[in-house]
């Protein structure tokens, strides 16, 4: 390389660094002064009961497949993880594939929800929300996708109702073996952490306690995340993604006390889901009674719900002839965030959904 070329290269590198420093300063100010544009896909509330809401998303893309897809969110986080930001949204992706997408969101619990039990979700909210989907769309059946604990609720609903209009049931990182759920759950199971001591005066497990639990799994990780953010602060795309994800990680929701006690007593301590049977109200639900096609999708690097906790669902839920297992690379949020989600996870989930749906000819305008 000639001296002129070396000096030219040096000048361009200095220029790039100066430019990036200016962008870092601008994005740094933006990062601390603005909130990310989460949950931006337009939607309508089509059903509501207590704090639970059913949303139907709008799109210009016509509906190409029946039945509609209903995402049942978990009880421990905010549902906007599936609509994180424009251009990087699971909901947007699914709408773009021609699916009619609904979201069952349980809201942010407070004192009024402290008495909610598994029955509240499985017998009160889910059947009515699914009936609302039928009323709204005029279809007989739905595809239900339950994320994390929402997967357990969806499976209990599909198994607990003889006429549950569920053609397809997708379990996304849904925990079934609570003996494999990691140290925090093990501490609750063994009584080293007292469930009642985690419940505050509102009757719920406060959101802070849940956040601390997740944070303490890797307390120093945030240092690495901030360092990576600092290095990439010039990159608008990176900053937008980081900001949305960081907000979602921080914004946990309180866990209703009654359902927390029920989960600790039955599902954590006695690990009853692994028996394939759970007593709910006056009946015993058998997970094998699910009549829908079942897809158990889980991620190999999930450190919130490890593979060993999700994998057993492939042997427990539904008819063995109708079960499919989808092993994904990525972590707990691979269903909603990250480049891998949009390149591999969501296309795979959509392919399975479409393969078990009817194509509408001609497509239906929304």
């Amino acid at each position: 390389m000639t001296p002129a070329a070396i000096s030219g290269d040096l000048v361009s590198r200095v220029n790039r660094e100066v430019e990036r420093s200016l962008l870092r300063a601008r994005n740094g100010v933006r990062y601390v002064t603005t909130r990310p544009n989460v949950g931006a896909t337009p939607k309508d509330v089509v059903w509501k009961r207590d704090k639970a809401e059913l949303w139907r998303y709008r799109s210009d893309v016509p509906i190409r497949y029946d039945p509609p897809l209903v995402i049942v969110h978990s009880l421990v986080s905010r549902s906007y993880i599936f609509d994180l930001r424009p251009g990087s949204s699971t909901v947007e992706f699914l709408l773009g594939q021609g699916l009619d997408v609904f979201m069952l969101d349980f809201g942010i619990p407070d004192e009024l929800d402290a008495d909610n039990t598994l029955e509240t979700y499985v017998d009160e909210y889910l059947p009515r929300a699914i009936a609302a989907v039928q009323a709204e769309t005029g279809v007989d059946e739905v595809t239900v996708a339950g994320y994390c604990l929402g997967g357990v609720l969806a499976a209990l609903y599909a198994a607990g109702y003889e006429d549950a209009p569920v053609r397809n049931l997708m379990l996304w990182a849904a925990p079934f073996d609570f003996g494999q759920m990691g140290v925090m759950v093990a501490a609750v199971r063994d009584g080293r952490l007292d469930a009642d001591e985690l419940i505050d005066h509102t009757g719920n497990v406060p959101a802070d306690a849940l956040y601390s639990g997740f944070f303490m799994q890797a307390p120093t990780k945030q240092v690495a995340q901030y360092a990576t953010l600092l290095e990439n602060l010039w990159n608008d795309e990176f900053v937008d993604g980081y900001q949305a994800m960081a907000q979602w990680s921080r914004e946990q929701v309180p866990f209703p006390g009654a359902v927390f006690r029920q989960i600790v007593d039955d599902i954590v301590r006695r690990n009853v889901l692994m028996t394939g049977r759970l007593r709910l109200g006056e009946r015993v639900i058998q997970l094998a009674h699910v009549e829908a096609n079942v897809l158990n999708a889980f991620a190999e690097n999930d450190n919130v719900v490890p593979v060993t906790a999700t994998e057993p669902a492939s042997q427990l839920v539904g008819d063995p002839a109708r079960r499919t297992e989808l092993r994904l690379t990525g972590g707990h949020v691979t269903f909603a965030a990250g480049r891998h989600a949009f390149k591999h996870t969501l296309p795979a989930l959509t392919d399975w959904t479409i393969a078990h749906s009817d194509e509408l000819k001609p497509p239906k305008e929304r």
């Binding site: 017998d123 699914i130 003889e162 120093t220 690495a224 290095e231 015993v284």
Partner: protein, 117 residues
Amino acid sequence: MAKGKPLWLDTVLRLERAVGERVESAVRSDTYFDLVTQANRARALMTEAVESLSEEWLHLWNLPANTDIRGIQAQLSRLERRVATLQKEIADLEADGKRPSARRRAPVKKQTPPPAA
């Protein structure tokens, strides 16, 4: 991003892992959870002791203490829950013309989904 990672970032990430692995193994130990439980109990006892003292002092001046407010909040929540339950029962009656509780009376293996309400 992995391409051309600067030296400072690489050092921070390596350092974080070196320290992080030790910290993670510590916070996953029985000792850590025992300490957290003890700390939580100690904090609860301390709060209770302080509240009890301040409660006496405030009551002396005929002022409500935090515990009184929490009691009223709990009472109000119970009342709100009752109203919400009644509202739902009315909505259910309007929706399907029958008592919603009747659906659960028979101990059946599986149930029939109710209409949207």
